[in-house]
C-alpha cells in the first residue's frame, strides 16, 4: 500500500544525491540509510554524522500562563529549568501512560517549544489544545522549522567554525535561541539521540540545504550523512527509549525506568495521581536490559519467558554494532527484573536463554567520568 503523498523535508533532494534508501516513516519520505546502517553507526561513534530530523513535530506554547500550562502537561518540574535550558520529559494520560516523549525548550516562563515525535504530532497537538489554559497560544510550527542534528566526537570541532555560539560554553541540554550557523539564523542546542556529544540545529526550511552542505563541506572526511536506521541503532545502544517500543499509552514512565524525569511531587500534572500510586505500590512491570547467552537476535515483540511461562516481551533488540553482541530491552514482570536473572527470549518458536544485566549498554559520551591523569 503506497500512501498517496509522503511528505518531504527540505533536504529530500540532498538525500537522493547521497544515494539514500528512502522509506515511509510516519508519513514522511525519509532516508533509512545511505552507505549502510553499520558504517553510518560507526561513523557517528568514531567521528561525526549528519542527520535530517526535520520530520519531528514542533509545538510552540506562549503567553503569560505558558509555564503553568506546560507544567500541567509534562512529568518534569519545568519551573526548575533556567531560561535557555532543555528538558527531556514525557506527557502522560490520566492513567500515567505515555502520550509522547519530548524535549521542552524553555525560552522563558512565557515561551516554550515542545519537540515531539513525527508520528504523534497531530495527536499531541490535539491533546495540548484540550488542556489549553486562558491567555496561552498553542501553535504548530512544524512546517516552519527544519532540523539538522550533528552528532559524534567531532561534532563540536566541525560546527564551531560555522557557528556564532561559543559551543564550549553551551552545556548539555542548553540552547542558544539566537545563534547563526553558516550565516543563517538558527537555534542551536546541545542535545541529540545517539549517545554521543552533539548538537541539534533548528532553522528555516529555506536555509536547510545551505547549512547541510556547509556542514558536510566543513567536516570533510570526518562527517557523513546518517539515516534513520543508524539513528535507531545508536539511540538503542545508548539505552534511549523510543516511543512505540519502550514507551506507549499502556506503559508508564516508571515502568520504563524514567523515574528521573517524573517529579511526583511537583505542582499538578496529568497522570500525577496514577503515578504516585504506582510509585507507592511499585510498578508491576519493569524495563530491563538483557544479553543473549546463545546465538539469536532479539526483536521487538518477541515473547520473554521464565520456566516456560510468558513474563513479558522485547521492546527493542539488535546485534549491537559497537558492543558486537546481541542485546535487548524487555518489559517484564517486576518480580523477575533482577540483574543476573536468566530468562528466555522466544525466537521463531525457540526459547533462547538470555541474562538480565545492568550496565550492559553503551555509556553515552556525555555521561562518562573524565579519566584523571596519573
Amino acid at each position: 500500500m503506497i500512501p498517496l503523498s509522503l511528505k518531504r523535508t527540505p533536504l529530500y533532494a540532498q538525500h537522493l544525491a547521497h544515494n539514500a534508501k528512502m522509506v515511509d516513516f510516519a508519513g514522511w519520505d525519509m532516508p533509512i540509510e545511505y552507505t549502510g546502517i553499520i558504517a553510518e553507526h560507526h561513523q557517528v561513534r568514531r567521528a561525526a554524522g549528519l542527520f535530517d530530523v526535520s520530520h519531528m513535530g514542533e509545538i510552540l506554547i506562549t503567553g503569560s500562563q505558558a509555564e503553568d500550562m506546560v507544567q500541567l502537561l509534562v512529568t518534569t518540574d519545568i519551573a526548575k529549568l533556567q531560561d535557555c535550558q532543555v528538558a527531556y520529559t514525557v506527557m502522560c494520560n490520566e492513567n500515567g501512560g505515555v502520550i509522547d516523549d519530548l524535549l521542552v525548550y524553555k525560552y522563558s516562563r512565557h515561551k516554550f517549544l515542545l519537540v515531539v515525535n513525527a508520528a504523534n504530532t497531530q495527536k499531541d497537538l490535539d491533546w495540548i489544545k484540550q488542556h489549553k489554559v486562558p491567555d496561552c497560544e498553542v501553535a504548530d510550527v512544524s512546517e516552519q522549522l527544519a532540523v539538522i542534528a550533528i552528532q559524534g566526537p567531532k561534532a563540536e570541532e566541525i560546527l564551531q567554525p560555522l557557528c556564532a555560539t561559543d559551543l564550549g560554553g553551551l552545556k548539555l541540554f542548553c540552547f542558544d535561541p539566537t545563534s547563526i550557523v553558516a550565516g543563517r539564523r538558527a537555534l542551536v542546542s546541545r542535545t541529540g539521540y545517539t549517545g554521543e556529544h552533539g548538537f541539534e540545529i533548528y532553522l528555516a526550511p529555506a536555509d536547510a540545504v545551505h547549512v547541510w552542505q556547509e556542514l558536510l563541506r566543513q567536516g570533510g572526511s570526518e562527517i557523513a550523512p546518517a539515516g534513520l536506521g543508524a539513528r535507531d541503532t545508536l539511540r538503542f545502544e545508548a539505552k534511549l527509549p523510543l516511543y512505540g517500543q519502550e514507551l506507549g499509552p499502556d506503559i508508564t514512565p516508571l515502568e520504563a525506568g524514567l523515574d528521573w524525569c517524573v517529579h511526583l511531587h511537583k505542582p499538578e500534572f496529568i497522570g500525577q495521581e496514577a503515578l504516585q500510586q504506582q510509585a507507592a505500590n511499585g510498578p508491576k512491570r519493569l524495563l530491563v536490559e538483557f544479553e543473549m547467552l546463545e546465538r539469536g537476535i532479539p526483536r521487538s515483540g518477541y515473547p520473554v519467558q521464565k520456566s516456560g511461562q510468558e513474563i513479558g516481551y522485547v521492546t527493542t533488540g539488535y546485534h549491537s554494532p559497537t558492543l558486537n553482541k546481541a542485546i535487548g530491552l524487555a518489559l517484564i514482570a517486576a518480580e523477575f527484573a533482577q540483574p543476573g536473572e536468566t530468562i528466555d527470549i522466544v525466537v521463531r518458536n525457540r526459547a533462547i536463554p538470555a541474562q538480565i544485566g545492568r550496565g550492559l549498554f553503551y555509556v553515552p559520551a556525555y555521561r562518562r567520568r573524565k579519566k584523571s591523569k596519573k
Binding site: G36, I37, G229, R295, R299
Partner: protein
C-alpha cells in the same frame, strides 16, 4: 544489476549453482542489497530432508528478517559455517557465498527455476 548467466534463480531471491547432483544455494545480490547489512544467519541442520519451498534458513539484517527457502528438494549435505561468525560475507559477495548445499532427490526441478533472464525481468519489473 549483478545477475550471473550461469546460475538459476527463484522468485524469492535465492540463487542455485548446479554441480552434478549438488545444488549450491545462496541469496541474490538484489536480496542482500534490499536487506542491507546482514548480521545473522540461521543455517539448516546437516542431513535435513527438504522439499522444494521448505525453509532452509533465516537471514537477518540490522532491520529485517527473511526466510531462505530450498529451491530444490533433497538432503542438506553441507552448510557454510563461516557465515555463523561472518554473515557479512553475503553483503561482500552474494554469489561467492553459498549458504548450503543440497544433494538433489529430484533434479528435474531445476527446469522450473528461473533463468538469469527471467530473474532479471522479475527484479527490474
Amino acid at each position: 544489476m549483478n545477475i550471473p548467466e550461469n546460475l538459476r534463480y527463484t522468485e524469492e531471491h535465492e540463487w542455485v549453482r548446479i554441480e552434478g547432483n549438488r545444488a549450491y544455494v545462496g541469496i541474490t545480490d538484489y536480496a542482500q542489497k534490499e536487506l542491507g547489512d546482514i548480521v545473522f544467519l540461521e543455517l539448516p541442520e546437516l542431513e535435513s530432508d527438504l522439499a522444494a519451498g521448505d525453509q532452509l534458513g533465516v537471514v537477518e539484517s540490522v532491520k529485517a528478517i527473511a526466510d531462505i527457502h530450498a529451491p530444490v528438494s533433497g538432503i542438506v549435505v553441507e552448510i557454510n559455517e563461516a557465515l555463523e561468525d561472518s554473515p557479512e560475507l553475503i553483503n561482500e559477495d552474494a554469489y561467492d557465498t553459498w549458504v548450503a548445499v543440497i544433494e538433489m532427490t529430484n533434479p528435474n526441478e531445476i527446469d522450473s527455476l528461473l533463468t538469469a533472464e527471467q530473474y532479471k525481468n522479475l527484479v527490474q519489473g
